[in-house]
Amino acid sequence: MSGGVVAEGLVKRFGSFTALAGVDFSVEEGTVVGLLGPNGAGKTTTIRILTTLLRPDGGRAAVAGYDVARSPQLVRAVIGLTGQYAAVDDDLSGRENLVLVGRLSRMAKRAASERAAVLLSAFSLVEASDRLLRTYSGGMRRRLDLAASLMVAPPVLFLDEPTTGLDPRSRLQLWDVIHGLRAQGTTIVLTTQYLEEADQLTDRISVIDGGLVIAEGTADELKAAVGGDVLDLKLADRARTADAAATLAKAFGVPEDELTVDAELGSVLVPVSGAAALIEAVRALDAAHVPVADIGLRRPSLDDVFLSLTGHVADERPEMAAPSARRRSMMGA
């Protein structure tokens, strides 16, 4: 049995609301897998089941070979969890928070304080070690929360939106930590709404929406599945955005609603294939006298993948009703 994480057909209902409708999910030992999805997709529910905080209504899951429903205590001994809200105690100091978690994880007093000192220094919290948590900034709290999850160096680590609400610098610091843990062989399950984060940190990605995993693969595989290239145009004059969109739609013979148009930014995105499209676009725009600030071809980003899979952008709330037609076709594919 692998030391990773496996879930088969996880179902969870809250009253009449089905949060998980049969989630299949797996993480090979020593890899980082991203669970990607909008708010309410079922990411947190999945994490809560895998970390024994919730019992599933159906399906099975194992962490490091232990059944999460049958042997929760054995699972708890091998996992670390950093939830969506920094689970730290405001009335304790940074050091006291870490030592408490260490002692509750069966570490001896001495070992717990030594480990706490190592982590406080690794997370640049040495100076704040003995200050109460209520004086910490948001970024410091998140770092301490993550440090608390690492007190026993768990082989499997669950990070539920670890960087939500963090400033860019703190986010990059957390990314470094996660890269470091992966290099040491920690298995990591990470949820995020930030597609760039998934791109940066994960080996594989599972896209979850409406309580189901609707796509799975490496970031490159997912991008390739969308197919083709994206022509990315920035206009010199935002007032001409609509003209540019009409010109390009005509030039490439695609309906205008397949273009992504942002009049405020003065940008237009067109799905195309091949480098010749770039020349064609420049010619068409020049002929229509639309001045161009910047134009280029790029591979689809994870944002494009997300949009194409779910029919909505990553940080939008999904409709609670039936899945969109687009999603149905993806599920059938």
Binding site: M1, S2, G4, V6, E8, D24, F25, S26, V27, E28, T51, T52, L53, L54, R55, R60, A62, G65, Y66, D67, R70, S71, P72, Q73, L74, R76, A77, I79, L81, G83, Q84, Y85, A86, A87, V88, D89, D90, D91, L92, E96, L100, V101, R103, L104, S105, R106, L132, A148, R204, E216
Partner: protein, 273 residues
């Protein structure tokens, strides 16, 4: 998927057979209780205000009403002290639910539940630390009361007995409070909701006047009231009296009922997550 599937049989024993050794359970409870007490000590303002409030009440009752109120057997000042102390225990017990709701709110409860600790440690640790808090508070109040003239008439052992009774009553109500905290999950709501049953129970009890001086319609309510049972037992121990034994039985029955019902409800809530 990545090609990993689950074998039919997974490793590990079912949890019921993997019970923790008692020493570990005790150690976990001590760690959780220690953490809670540390939080209490760090909130000095809360300690100061929650001690000043009953002290003020003691002084007001002892000096304002002592002149007009007459009670049989002892002075009104003496009479009202056990009432105010029991009332303080009731209010303080509501801190349990507020603390639990806070831990739910901040995610600390998830932190504890995701650690391999004894499942009982969170709730039992809370009970231990809150009982200590109630004990310290009741001792402080008795000291303050004796400064303004409160006296036990019934010997040292009975005095200790009174302290035990008031703290036991507070402990029983921490079970109710814990259930409220786990159900409502929001500190402010717990505080507001707790007053709904508590205020009428306190004011229809023997806290501030003997039951036979209350309005006629209120007397049957006051007689079955658990707060009356606790206060009459405490008074009996402090000053002696013929119906102390009856009050004590009454108190014991209420205590067992409150603890049994609300512990069961709270544990069920806690398990549901």
């Amino acid at each position: 998927m990545a090609g990993i599937t689950l074998p039919a049989q997974l490793a590990g024993t079912p949890e019921s057979r993997a019970a923790l050794p008692p020493a570990r359970v005790v150690a976990d409870i001590a760690l959780v209780a220690g953490r809670n007490l540390r939080k209490v000590l760090r909130n000095t303002r809360l300690i100061v205000f929650s001690t000043i409030q009953p002290l003020l009440q003691l002084i007001l009752f002892a000096y304002v009403f002592a002149g007009v109120a007459r009670v049989p057997g002892t002075s009104y000042k003496n009479f009202v002290v056990p009432g105010v102390i029991v009332q303080t225990m009731v209010f303080s017990a509501m801190g349990t639910g507020v603390g639990i709701a806070n831990d739910l709110h901040t995610g600390m409860i998830d932190r504890f539940r995701s650690l391999p600790i004894a499942r009982s440690a969170f709730l039992v640790g809370r009970t231990v630390s809150d009982s200590l808090r109630l004990g310290i508070q009741s001792v402080l109040l008795v000291i303050a009361a004796s400064i303004i003239g409160f006296r036990f008439h019934n010997g040292a052992l009975a005095a200790v007995g009174m302290m035990v009774v008031v703290v036991l009553f507070g402990m029983a109500l921490t079970a109710f409070s814990a259930w409220l905290g786990l159900t409502l999950r929001d500190p402010e709501s717990v505080q507001a909701a707790a007053f709904i049953p508590i205020l009428p129970l306190i004011f229809t009890s023997s806290a501030f006047a003997p039951v036979n001086r209350l309005p006629g319609w209120m007397q049957p309510l006051a007689k079955v009231n658990p707060v009356t049972a606790a206060i009459d037992t405490a008074r009996g121990l402090a000053f002696g009296g013929s119906h102390t034994a009856t009050a004590a039985w009454h108190f014991a029955a209420w205590w067992v009922a409150i603890v049994a019902v609300f512990t069961a409800l709270a544990v069920r809530r806690y398990r549901l997550g």
